[in-house]
Subunit: 199 residues, 2 copies
């Protein structure tokens, strides 16, 4: 960035945008110059300033919420017998979009990752276990990501639950819908073969 060429306020916002994941310095520049020409910079600024206003973690599921107990946990139409454990709030958004899940959630707020110094104590695992103790669900879906950290975290929780009679499940692995067989990676195709289903 040639800071001499651009006004300071422009450089400052480029800097802020470039801190965000997946936004490099060139994209940051493009976004700021777009905002300079549009009417949206004020509403964006206000939305960012008030983003965290009144947001707390739900005392039951630990998801972001504006109430002590979030709307999903409060919803009487959602089953208490099914509990889906996810690593981050964004995963709840993704699952809710399917419209197929009618149970409750629990957000771990991370995954076990020794490289990053994150152990089980840094995650919402204790709150999960004490929640289960109070209200035992029939089934727990461990919906962490299908990668090393996600599976390590799932295995850790599985071990903590092995003395209970709760059914523990995980999401199915296989070919993504609409995907091309020839473009699937070996791991995915291998899982799809292993878990093949009767037509």
């Amino acid at each position: 960035m040639n800071s001499d060429v651009l006004p300071e306020s422009v450089n400052k916002l480029i800097e802020e945008f470039a801190k965000l994941p997946s936004i490099g310095p060139k994209t940051a520049e493009r976004l700021v110059f777009y905002l300079l020409k549009s009417e949206d910079s004020i509403s964006l600024g206000e939305a960012a300033l008030t983003l965290k206003d009144g947001i707390v973690n739900c005392q039951s599921c630990q998801n972001f919420s504006t109430e002590t107990i979030c709307k999903i946990c409060q919803n009487p139409n959602r089953s208490d017998s099914l509990l889906c454990v996810v690593s981050q709030p964004l995963d709840i958004v993704a699952i809710e979009k399917t419209g197929l899940y009618k149970g409750k959630y629990h957000v771990l707020h991370g995954v076990i990752s020794p490289v990053d110094g994150i152990g089980p104590d840094e995650l919402e695992i204790d709150s999960l276990l004490s929640r289960i103790e109070k209200h035992k669900p029939e089934e727990i879906i461990l919906a962490t990501n299908p990668n090393l950290e996600g599976e390590t975290t799932a295995l850790y929780i599985l071990r903590k639950l092995q003395d209970s009679d709760i059914q523990v499940t995980k999401l199915a692995h296989g070919l993504p819908m609409g995907g091309d067989l020839e473009y699937a990676d070996q791991m995915t195709l291998g899982r799809a073969l292993d878990n093949r289903q009767v037509f």
Copy 2:
């Protein structure tokens, strides 16, 4: 977006991000959830709110500036005999990064695009012509983008200048540096052949 699931302030910022070019709803979600976990949402908000504070168009080159006459136009080390005409301020940033240009600029703030209802009068062409009348440069580089609208705009300005004795040039077209010949599109390769240079 399942607005029932997310706090309103979160939905609002997702909406604001999704207005920006090249940011879709999924990316907007990811950015907002990143900000929820980071400390950067306030500084981003303040930077966006103050983005346009004190920013005006330079009375000489029309680039964004915090002063009536911008730093480049004021710089006595930059030649007045060379004038580079660009369509938007971001193009100045790109050219300045090369470190090779020591002349002045003029920003058109757009290109002629009948489809979008933008004619020559909507652009900073009059200010360019009256600027040239006052201080005649030796050379004008028409550095609009090498596409239909950019070349139409350049041709329009060229015609306005044909009675003057100013040398009018354009940027060289050819293979991009580090590019692969086999991946170059036909137009680019054609131009590179036409404009081949002696080794």
